[in-house]
Symmetry: C2
DNA sequence: CCGTATTCGATAAAAACATATCGATACACG
DNA sequence: CGTGTATCGATATGTTTTTATCGAATACGG
């Protein structure tokens, strides 16, 4: 139960998701070897990752599936739902608002903001972006998702921070500068793509 | 001009995008210091990245903007357009089909496939997924983008590979197993989110 | 009840990556 | 024409992450 590295943290949700697929199969136990093969990771890596959060498996048996799931969910804070708002309800923003998969990891998107307000997307309201600073505090959202064009991404980020968000998930293709107290995750799709293209050569 | 590490490769498109914003400003030269400040990266890191692809900058002056852009574009293969198809035209798939930013990095999405064909999204046709193996070869697409539910992601990947794609961009929340000859980039949004949530604590 | 195969956990080695330091170069300015 | 300063490139150091190795523990078969 020591500290968890950033790269380990990235894999934990993947383990969790995989383990959940085992539940319907009534498999009680799972070995690190088995996990590593299913996910295409190194065997030792998996064991090390699991060691950092779980309280151990048993030789010849492996880890107890349900206990491991519970540990992972607890660690990742599933259940303690974080609320988020999306700024920029274009195609990508809409897609994220409709996306079902976030609930599994404890995120609830409560509203959207856009220059063009609309009655609602996926049952959630879309307000005028001008009212962001006034509405956001009472929503209790701690995460801001940025899906606006590159030109205004930094402005939106600044405004979100001023309104009190603790974390920013940035889908625009520019790097965003923030105070140290705020966490940022850049999700530059165009960059990811370039990496893939290059690998293909 | 040595080999380029994976993490460097991830940053190159970011540099490229930033440099392009300088063109309208008629700025002839740019220093690594300036880039590092604008993007929030280490100064030395930027210099090292650029050294690995460019043929050098000049002290007191910096790098020549246009030459650097040309070098980056050449290295990243912009111009040599790769074609891609999207399998799974739900909300996320639609968003990607509409997204304008990919062209900048040399990707053209030529068609979509779904269990429910539709007349077209963003001017691109959406075919029945059953006809994937017959239509894909004549399209000349080398990249397959997977935006289907987790349960069928592996099946779709297998079929894409059988149809001859060289790379897969996987947006489903499961890890996909592929032969070594095929490049995969997993874009697990739920996992990214978990990392962000955890950072906020 | 004992040997064997499997699996865990810990330590050590290796690799990848980021950061720091330093001399060299080229322009600016007096 | 010399000095100062900004900036590059290279080397070195430190950190993080992955991979390899080894002993110990435990269930299962005989």
């Amino acid at each position: 139960m020591q500290s968890v590295s950033k790269s380990t943290l990235k894999r934990l949700p993947i383990y969790l998701h995989y383990l959940k697929t085992l539940v319907p199969l009534d498999q009680q136990n799972i070995s690190a070897t088995q996990i590593s093969q299913a996910l295409g990771l190194g065997e030792v890596l998996v064991r090390k990752d699991l060691a950092s959060i779980s309280n151990g498996g048993r030789p010849k048996i492996g880890y107890e599936v349900h206990a491991l799931i519970a540990t992972l969910e607890d660690y990742l804070g599933v259940g303690k739902v974080s609320k988020a708002v999306i700024v920029g309800v274009g195609r990508l923003g809409q897609a994220l608002m409709m996306y079902k998969g976030f609930g599994e990891f404890g995120l609830e998107i409560v509203a959207g903001f856009d220059v063009r307000p609309s009655p609602g997307v996926g049952g959630k309201p879309v307000y005028d972006v001008k009212s962001l600073s006034s509405l956001l505090p009472q929503m209790g959202a701690s995460i801001g998702i940025i899906t606006v064009p590159a030109a205004v991404a930094q402005d939106v980020a600044d405004e979100l921070i001023r309104a009190g968000v603790k974390g920013i998930w940035n889908f625009s293709p520019v790097h965003i500068v923030v105070p140290q107290a705020v966490a940022v995750k850049n999700e530059n799709l165009a960059a990811s793509l370039a990496v893939l293209s290059k690998q293909i050569k």
